[in-house]
Symmetry: C2
Subunit: 334 residues, 2 copies
């Protein structure tokens, strides 16, 4: 595998203790590569970045309209959310509209990502439910599509289920990968996950933000998703989260989504661009520093915006006592 | 920085989702490089691998003898332990011999590494103390040295304190790094941490296991440390931990220690070898797979021993539901 010299350094004191290598692809809506670092065709999994694409059939099928899903609920379908009150309530809201409840969600339960929310629950002796799972919005969207199709909700996570087949079709079409060539695995939350070269995922995001050349039904669904996330960035992630703040700071000029194992995909609708960045080793700590640095160097973020995102750009490293012992800094030129 | 093609792959389904690069140095007691991968002079921090070297002045000063520290207690001084009952009791035991208690430890408190112990404490509503901190043995050893020197226990973590100066001297001498060239930072537990090229740390470990050429006082202290850890591997780490099992499986033929940010240092006393392996990006998940694979290829572990360590060699990856979704596999030839 071709090594990348596009790196993020983790300093302790005055020296580099560890480094993270970065692969990057920036493409337009035709899939032409405009910028790259490392291997722009690196094969990896889209993980949760695919959620914005997977939401397409929920809208295109008429399920969203039939069940009256609002923009906050659509944004939640695209989320790796924090498990804060508004996220849990919105997931419960979607399920209520379907006549379902949290036990229909098969994503499993984990503590809210939002540490104060998790801490408060522990203090109340309250166990997390499937609603707190960061993927509960995506799974609720899957159940909405399932209910609208009249398919069984018991097996909605299986690759053969019509819900997963529709989502696979959407991801294949948006990324220009034939169905036979899409790599498939199982995600953290149990559903199929999509493996493809990062430049193809970037193409899907370019088209999501600038869908003019797509068929009308799909173009409308893309616009609905981008508008929903732009209007309700808090529902895409939550308090103190980069995905939310990137949208807020750029006033919706950039819409991006993180995924597990250090992947980030974003669209800049006004420029017709899609960008995907993968930390080779999968470590999240290098992800936002690298994304912000890349956006800065590509003139997609202003100096003022970079400064507003400074805590994500060059985060400090603390030890058990809370003492500052180091810093994380991108160190590359595109 | 020179990229390494010595890698560990993290698979999800059939494809590689992330990779980790490995740097390796194997040296003899004269510091001659016998084997390498990536950059054998990579500069990084020794982190907790240095604990076995830092224990030297606790013995050489006469503190260990004066306070009657036993072999299990010496092993705990070298540990990043699990916070299990025997570890907490041993740390308390050392402090008791000094007339100190857990509030003299300045390492901070965190939940035991050993998940069942942490879970049981949570269920009992019991908060962790400094005794549960994985470094409480090292800090207790520092306090033993401090008390024996008649120095103030209030400032024992400061670089200028005689305890830290003696430990710095020992690390410099064992690794052949002049004091003026040793890089210093602050560790997770607040004390100074030592930055040096990995081949120099490997030299310190070669000498630790085969100290014949060292001055008698130091050679005896090295032998005491190796013998203590060999006799009480459970005190070096704990249940389900690699460091403990590596010693048990090899019946003490190999003595090794992990450190944070993906570093491992070991000695093979019978062969006069020291080996240091660093995961470039600092991720622990790739560390034991790489160490075992390197030891296997260097004929330092038998096939039967590798097989006994299989759960550390090629660990499976699970998702929130506990489903097996991937595997971690070393992929290199030294």
């Amino acid at each position: 595998m071709k090594p990348s010299n596009t790196i993020v350094r983790v300093y302790r004191g005055n020296i580099t203790e560890s480094i993270h290598r970065v692969h990057l692809a920036v493409v337009n809506t035709k899939g032409s590569l405009l910028h790259s670092a490392g291997d722009p065709q690196l094969l990896t999994f889209a993980r949760s970045t695919a959620k914005l694409i997977q939401a397409l059939p929920v809208i295109e099928s008429g399920a969203a309209e039939h069940f009256g899903l609002g923009d906050a609920e659509i944004a939640l379908c695209c989320a790796s959310h924090n498990g804060e009150a508004e996220h849990v309530n919105a997931a419960q809201g979607i399920l209520g509209k379907l006549g379902f409840h949290h036990e229909h969600l098969q994503c499993g339960a984990h503590e809210p990502y939002h540490a104060p929310t998790a801490q408060a629950m522990r203090e109340r002796g309250e166990a997390p439910t499937t609603l707190h799972n960061n993927c509960s919005g995506k799974h609720s969207g899957m159940l909405a599509l399932c209910a609208h199709l009249g398919a069984s909700p018991d097996t909605y996570m299986s690759l053969q289920h019509p819900v997963q087949q529709l989502m696979l079709d959407a991801v294949c079409a948006m990324s220009d990968i034939p169905k036979s060539q899409m790599e498939l695995g199982v995600d953290g939350c149990g559903v199929p996950v999509f493996g493809m070269p990062i430049n193809h995922l970037a193409l899907a995001f370019a088209r999501l933000g600038s869908p003019e050349a797509l068929p009308e039904l799909r173009a409308n669904a893309c616009q609905r998703i981008v508008a929903a996330v732009r209007k309700y960035p808090q529902y895409l992630a939550g308090s103190d989260r980069f995905d939310t703040q990137l949208i807020e700071v750029t006033q919706g000029r950039i819409i991006g989504k993180m995924g597990a194992e250090g992947i980030f995909a974003l669209t800049v609708p006004d420029k017709g661009l899609g960008l995907v960045l993968k930390i080779e080793d999968g470590n999240q700590r290098a992800l936002y520093p690298a994304v912000i640095e890349a956006l800065k160097q590509l003139d997609l973020l202003s100096a003022a915006e970079v400064s507003q995102l400074a805590a994500f750009h060059t985060p400090t490293v603390h030890n058990w006592q809370g003492t500052e012992v180091g810093i994380i800094r991108p160190d590359f030129q595109l």
